[in-house]
């Protein structure tokens, strides 16, 4: 009994450590490579005898990171507040108000939940071209708001379906109209739902690759992921610089995740399961 218990614990720890190693090793390999001598071809995972921390500074200027982070921030600011606000309003209405054709509207939105971005990229390109928006950040922001909307509405509707009907009734008795009921009662109670949605949309915008690749030529007007793709195209052969640049680019996503990981995972679970 005890020996089998010990054996099980050893296997368990061993397998978990192996999976963790699998998750982290590609990043460690990038890290040691980023510290190798510039222009050299190091081996996969070798701590350099004299680490070149300066590579990160070189990568910073080579990829024009300040412009790239600035651009991504603008795109995120354009996408996230607008999408969260629109999705919250629509989700609330579909769950709590009697929207005419509400079922049909929600059904159409559900179709968008599974639509691959690639299925739309061709017409989006020509439409944005005729709007004269190709090459501008709006060409990323506007379609992204539309593309993220189904998930946002789905998420917020699920939250508001669970809202206590007694609260709405009580507010009605007190003479509050739909807007006041929403603003004073339901919105504050939905803070965890829409803030989790905002974090998910931040990641989705920050990490978006296809739209910037196709719709914006200038890498400094793209998202971080779009800029990283261009950086790989330009410095693909300089593995040291490429690894240093990639690590710099993924650092903000990583930091945001580590700070919010507790709330983030909890919220993700709640939303995904409704």
């Amino acid at each position: 009994m005890t020996t089998s218990g010990v054996a099980h614990r050893v296997t368990r720890t061993g397998i978990l450590l192996a999976l963790m190693l699998f998750a982290i090793v590609p990043l460690l390999s990038m890290f040691t490579t980023a510290l190798a001598a510039p222009g050299s071809t190091p081996q996969g995972l070798t701590w350099p005898s004299d680490p070149h921390w300066h590579n990160f500074v070189d990568a910073w200027s080579a990829a024009n990171f300040l412009a790239l982070f600035g651009s991504s921030t603008l795109i995120v600011l354009g996408v996230v507040p607008a999408t969260v606000a629109m999705a919250t309003a629509a989700g609330y209405a579909l769950a709590q108000l009697h929207v005419p054709f509400g079922k049909a509207i929600y059904g159409l939105l559900l179709v968008g939940l599974t639509l691959p971005f690639e299925a739309l990229i061709t017409p989006l390109y020509y439409n944005l071209q005729s709007m004269g928006l190709l090459g501008t950040r709006l060409a990323i922001v506007l379609p992204l708001i539309g593309l993220l909307m189904p998930f946002g509405v789905f998420w917020m509707r699920a939250h508001f379906l669970g809202a206590e009907p007694a609260l709405t009734e009580a507010a009605k008795v007190d003479g509050a109209n739909a807007w006041q009921t929403f603003r004073r009662i339901h919105l504050p109670l939905a803070t965890s739902a829409w803030s989790a949605l905002a974090v998910l949309f931040f990641l989705a915008s920050w990490n978006q690759y296809l739209l910037p690749l196709v719709l914006v030529d200038d890498p400094t007007k793209r998202t971080v992921a779009g800029g990283l793709g261009a950086f790989q195209g330009q410095y693909g052969t300089d593995i040291v610089l490429l690894c240093a640049g990639s690590l710099l680019i993924i650092l903000p996503s990583l930091v945001i995740f580590l700070i919010f990981q507790r709330n983030f995972v909890k919220a993700l679970m709640q939303g995904a399961l409704k």
Binding site: G112, M149, V214
Partner: protein, 307 residues
């Protein structure tokens, strides 16, 4: 003026209320309008355009000529298009089956641990790949698989020199190699979601199983697995969409090569429109891909709803 007012006196409490209800009813549309409007303009309308384009032959600049069903027939007859769809299904093994399977193992192991530093670290570390841009996953693994990369370094270290190769350039191994990147990205998502699901299973069920003398394995099949039905549906749905509609990782790592060994519909659509100007053909494949995802996802969702 006095007569109507006295006549309406009886109904007064009713009429304005009914009007107010009806007004509020229609004004509810205003709440939905901005979000649905953006969705209609940037998703629904382009989707219909894709359907329309798919029946034309168009280079994106000149006039479009009607092509009947040619673009649609090509999907089933042109080997490179057909293979791209096949590859998408092979990727499901790597994006869905392996991460869900390994995720179940990892989640049930983490559940057994006492809450503490190790279980938290395991959860966080496994989830990290999911939050990074897929572009970064592509770059990291392109380096892992290169001639000087870690995979070959390990093979050389254990004396398997004859098996080293440039993995992503190898006709046999390129597709599984790309698939492993999918396992890397999806494993943490599945583990964390399943772990949350296990946390919600009634502990009394585990106790009952133990009283019945169930071992770890039979406990897993009798209690854990049935209790995770909804979580499993979410994991499978999310990862299957990611597999069938994969783009970023493959565009960065192989661009569909060597030859067409790792070509998938997403990359093919991009190439057809933006590199080869076959807009009609790209659109047919795009509509086909969207429909394919729906057809695969629908029964899984049904399964999740049944009790």
């Amino acid at each position: 003026m006095t007569a109507p007012s006295s006549a309406s006196a009886a109904t007064q409490p009713v009429v304005p209320r009914r009007n107010a209800r009806r007004a509020r009813h229609w004004s509810a549309l205003l709440w939905v309008a901005p979000g649905f409007g953006m969705y209609a303009v940037f998703v629904l309308y382009p989707m219909l355009q894709s359907v329309q384009y798919s029946f034309y032959d168009w280079d994106g600049i000149g006039p479009a000529t009607p092509a009947g069903l040619d673009n649609w027939k090509a999907i089933f007859t042109q080997p490179e298009l057909l293979h791209s769809v096949e590859h998408a299904f092979i990727l499901v093994v790597f994006y869905t089956i392996l991460p869900v399977g390994l995720g179940l193992i990892a989640a049930s192991f983490i559940r057994e641990l006492r809450p503490g530093a190790f279980s938290t670290t395991a959860r966080v570390v496994l989830f990290i790949p999911q939050v990074l841009p897929l572009v970064a996953a592509g770059i990291a693994w392109t380096w892992m698989y290169s001639s000087d990369g870690l995979v070959n370094q390990v093979l050389r270290a254990v004396g398997l020199d004859q098996h080293t190769r440039a993995w992503l350039g190898d006709f046999t191994f390129a597709l599984p190699a790309v698939g492993v990147i999918g396992v890397w990205v999806m494993l943490g998502f599945c583990t964390v979601l399943l772990l949350a699901g296990i946390g919600k299973i009634d502990p009394a069920l585990y106790e009952a199983a133990r009283l019945d003398g169930a071992g770890r394995i039979s406990e897993f099949f009798a209690v854990t697995l049935p209790g995770l039905r909804r979580e499993l549906v979410v994991c499978t749905t999310f990862t299957i969409i990611a597999a069938l509609a994969s783009f970023d990782v493959i565009q960065i790592a192989t661009q569909g090569g060597p030859g067409y060994q790792t070509m998938v519909p997403g990359v093919e659509i991009y190439r057809l429109t933006f590199l080869q100007q076959h807009v009609g053909q790209a659109s047919a494949l795009a509509v086909f891909l969207a429909a394919l995802v729906l057809v695969v996802i629908w029964p899984i969702q049904r399964l999740g709803r049944e009790k």
